[in-house]
């Protein structure tokens, strides 16, 4: 199984409520995936500032003076906000790569969840309600966000095996299903220069799309290519800095429901996840067609 929820806001008035809406949707999907949960939130980019979200198994040790150490290493200002096992580090946007390299040296056990202008990813093992509370997701604001509740099939129940996966700047992907050719695709992507943190099938799908985007493909084309190059069952929901996309494999046995109003586009693995959204009674509600790419960009 696994549960997916997503929201792409069209009406800026809803932005302060994004985290609260996504939290409610995520918790509704608990019985589709009680192993672990995660959320990617896109909030307004600050001029010249980039964000690195990191995770630690020992936050008390790893995050102590991390901002000071990183500032010294890159010679630029660093702002750190710790949220439980995760920390968001703000650095000048042109320093993201330098900061990543420095982090690998300063705190080798840290895991990088995401980097970019506006993405933050928080994910952990545990019930969705506990994970959401741990990171205070309900208080987060933003323009769009994607959440996932996981029932693991392809790899171990670990923080790094939880979704969303981010394999490119401001990019993320969540998945319901399982891929059967991920090992060969991973091998090809490694040869093309992509790096992988896990043996997880979903990370391969994320990297596949990131690689296509890096080569200059549009989000729509990159998602289209998953239909020919990835084998297995999938409903993917993809986030980029200004976009939100959905694609299902041609067999389409993994459920998906979408709703659209003038205020938002919403995705849920089941209609249950959408029932508390404002104006849902009058929303256009439909099931995305098999082998069809849907995406919205602002």
């Amino acid at each position: 199984m696994c549960g997916i929820v997503g929201l792409f806001l069209k009406d800026p008035k809803l932005e302060p409520k994004l985290g609260a809406m996504l939290t409610d949707m995520l918790i509704t999907m608990t019985d589709r995936g009680p192993d672990s949960a995660g959320i990617a939130i896109y909030s307004g980019a600050k001029d010249g500032i980039g964000k690195i979200t990191v995770q630690s198994a020992h936050p008390g040790v790893d995050f102590k003076n991390l901002d000071l150490d990183l500032k010294e290493a890159i010679g630029k200002p660093v702002l750190m906000l710790v949220k439980s096992s995760h920390a968001v580090l703000e650095v000048p946007i042109d320093q993201i790569e330098a900061a990543r390299s420095a982090l690998a040296h300063l705190r080798p056990s840290l895991k990088v969840m995401s980097t970019g202008d506006c993405i933050e990813i928080f994910k952990e093992v545990g019930l969705p309600k506990d994970v959401a509370a741990r990171f205070d997701v309900s208080k987060m604001s933003g323009t769009h966000g994607i959440g996932h509740t996981r029932m693991a099939t392809e790899s171990a129940v670990t923080t790094m095996g939880a979704h969303p996966f981010s394999t490119g700047s401001d990019q993320c992907l969540v998945h319901n299903g399982s891929l059967s050719n991920h090992n060969s695709v991973r091998r090809e992507l490694r040869q093309a220069g992509m790096t992988f943190e896990t043996e997880n099938d979903t990370e391969v799908a994320a990297a596949f799309i990131s690689h296509k985007l890096h080569e200059g493909d549009s989000l729509g084309h990159a998602m289209e290519a998953t239909l020919t190059d990835l084998d297995g069952f999938f409903t993917f929901v993809v986030g980029t800095k200004n976009g939100f996309g959905v694609v299902r494999d041609p067999i389409a046995c993994k459920p998906a429901v979408m709703a659209e109003t003038d205020e938002y586009v919403a995705f849920g693995s089941e209609y249950r996840a959408l029932v508390n959204l404002p104006g849902i009674e009058n929303a256009r509600v439909w099931e995305p067609e098999p082998a069809t790419v849907y995406f919205w960009e602002r």
Partner: protein, 229 residues
Amino acid sequence: MQTFDLGAEGLRALNSSLHALKGQTNMTAWEVVNPKGAHAIAAGVDAPVDITVRGSTGYYCAGMNKQATIRIKGSAGPGVAENMMSGTVIIDGDASQYAGATGRGGLLVIKGNASSRCGISMKGINIVVHGNIGHMSAFMAQSGNLVVLGNAGEALGDSLYEARLFVRGTVKSLGTDCIEKEMRPEHFEILEDLLKRGEADAKARPEEFRRYGSARQLYNFNIDNASAY
């Protein structure tokens, strides 16, 4: 009229009240409010009652239904009326995948579209869809009638046994061993009756449909092919 607030009283209370109705009852009209996409609403009912669900439902609504008339005033999630035995299920909106799967009897009416695998392995149920149906519908369907006023997706009737498939619109592709067949007088009669009972007689006429059925090449053992087995 018994009104049941699913949000306040919960699914188990609803279904155990409905299961307690056996045979004759004077509580013949039920209304379920606040369904909010919950699973298994009114599954396993075995009584001649009318149940109206005010909103959209999740997985397996009206599953295994016997005798009851169940109306869904919204859309239905996967597996609506799965393995229905008798009675009627009418959905005002769309139905998700495998609507009416394995159904043995009764009538399932979908006023919107049905997605993939509609009527998969149907065994005697009648299904009337006012809109379109998705891919792999009526896969291995054994008996009963599937009537589609709109279009059918890929691989209609793959590995079909003896179910009759009537489609008014286009068929994207036929599955293995499914072929178009002639419309005989008895087929017009079946359609006349099902369109009426399916609340679709104002929308379509029997002569507008084409019939598809099994070529019977796949499920009969053919001695000439023995070396291939």
